[in-house]
Symmetry: C2
Subunit: 329 residues, 2 copies
């Protein structure tokens, strides 16, 4: 495909508020470890008041993937909703500054909600537990699915986190249709096991609709999707449902399945400092490889390398030159 954009990623536009905590803190506040929980204003106040000094950094699953892709040299655009407030300004700056096209109309200053933020609590083992106040982020509509932009991209990549209200689902379906109508392909991230739990039936419906060409997930999400504890069985189901899937297996690396192939790739041996963004950056590395027409084993290897780099640093957005990382690989 000769298109001017490699990937358009679509997701909840979120600023991460990143802080280190002890496991005892999670227990005391009733935060479930290792997953993403949605929180309301009151809970946001409670968690923020209890947590220590933090640093702020643009995040959001698909936002992180866009950051990784741009850093790797892919041509990337982002669709997501911020408000015209200080955090929205920060998110917008960072997205454009990393080289991604980002023109989604922000919610106006008068909107009663704010730009989304996620309190990302990092425990000494490097696991991250996310508590997300969505604010205006879910207000992405079909109007935001820029037809010209989506006709110009090889891939649309949608985070499962965005799959919630009927308006959001309609927006995602429209985005995928517009991309595919122009010959592009669609990737869906399962995002989080609890996200899968909430939306299992409609995820499966979307996946089985024939509109999704590639599914990203980890073994927990996959097992949740097919309601089994047997990851091999889940893989077999998924293989029947989609043309391609790229599954991360934590320290075991990753596995890519197509109708006819199974490719495994070992994890990059890195010490886990902060897992935030590992899955998002795996997707970035993998998609970058696909857009460069690399073989699947190379795509998976790029994904593992970039994910490994991400877990070895605080925060989800890459702070080093990922191009150098994969060139030296």
């Amino acid at each position: 495909m000769n298109k001017p954009i490699d990937v358009v990623t679509v997701g909840n536009a979120i600023v991460d508020v990143l802080g280190r905590v002890e496991d005892e803190f999670l227990q005391r506040l009733g935060v479930e470890k290792g997953i993403m929980q949605l929180i309301d204003t009151e809970r946001a106040k409670e968690i923020y008041a209890a947590m220590g000094p933090a640093t702020e950094s643009s995040g959001g699953s698909a936002g992180n993937t866009a950051a990784g892709l741009a850093n790797l040299g892919s041509r990337v655009a982002y669709i997501g909703k911020v408000k015209q407030d200080q955090l929205g300004e920060i998110f917008t700056h960072d997205m454009r500054a990393l080289g991604a096209q980002f023109d989604t109309a922000p919610a106006p200053e008068t909107h009663p909600l704010a730009t989304a933020r996620s309190f990302v609590l990092v425990t000494p083992d490097g696991e991250r537990s996310m508590n997300t106040y969505l604010g205006v982020a879910p207000e992405v509509t079909t109007d935001d699915m820029d037809e010209t932009l989506l006709s110009q991209t090889k891939w649309i990549y949608v985070e499962g986190y965005l799959w919630d209200t009927e308006a959001q689902k309609a927006a995602i379906r429209t985005g995928i249709e517009r991309c595919k109508a122009a010959g592009g392909k669609a990737a869906l991230s399962l995002s989080d096991p609890f996200c899968v739990e909430r939306h299992r039936d409609s995820f499966l419906e979307l996946i089985r609709s024939g509109q999704v060409d590639l599914v990203f997930g980890n073994h927990h999400e996959l097992c949740s999707l097919y309601q089994t504890e047997d990851v091999d069985q889940a893989m077999a189901f998924l293989r029947a449902d989609v043309p391609m899937a790229a599954i991360t297996l934590g320290p075991q690396g990753s596995m890519v399945i197509t109708k006819t192939e199974t490719v495994t790739s070992p994890a990059a041996p890195r010490t886990r400092v902060d897992a935030t963004g590992a899955g998002d950056l795996f997707a970035a590395g993998f998609l970058h490889g696909l857009c460069q027409s690399e073989p699947l084993a190379t795509c998976a290897h790029y994904g593992n390398l970039v994910a490994g780099e991400t877990i070895s640093q605080m925060g989800a957005r890459p702070s080093c030159d990922l191009k150098a990382l994969i060139v030296s690989a």
Copy 2:
């Protein structure tokens, strides 16, 4: 002194917007390297638009010193002006979360200016060049100099950056008076050579007024204050003007002078990643030692250790346990 608070620090309440740049970037934008420059709204827009993805972290010279003191176990409070906006909320959260008392009334939501931010550009050599949009920060008045608070502290520590308008100067003088009237002592940071350049006469007047017990500075600031290139001569002048001064000498460590003593202390051997906050954290270590009634050599050693830790990480606020650092010393 048996007082419930060790140090009240007073300064511009600023959120740092921290990004890595090449030296070429500084030249292209006309940013003077290694110092703090004040910028207006237009220049803020220009620099932010040109710089890459950034991370946000609470900063401000005296704010960083408060963070270091609290981390070390000193009892600390902060006086500074934010607005009731998202950045103000972040600054306030971080200050309170690190254990500092912070009750200065914020500027209301309707105020036309915003909470201050500083675009901190870090070059590959670890030097930092700060471009500060002050917003509401200079609007600290005598009303903010809480008499009860200041009567309860051993030390008031004022950053020279705050010394600007007549209203600010009046506020600082009042703060120092209220602290000293209750038996406390006053420390002044010279902050920056260009800050000294702008306010030399009134700085000297304040220092010679007998109200200042301790001056913090580096050799550049000191030479600027006394308009000499001979640091020894500047030291001699300063010794005549104040009871005590703690001077940082970069890789040469630090020197403490009193009427009768000269104490030198070598720098902690650390690789410079980002110099942001080094002087602020030196002051934190030194004041912590003073409040613990440690000998001057120990105070200077604490300052060097804590400053060394700060330059070895990105950002000014300490991310590790500084108590462990000085205990193991």
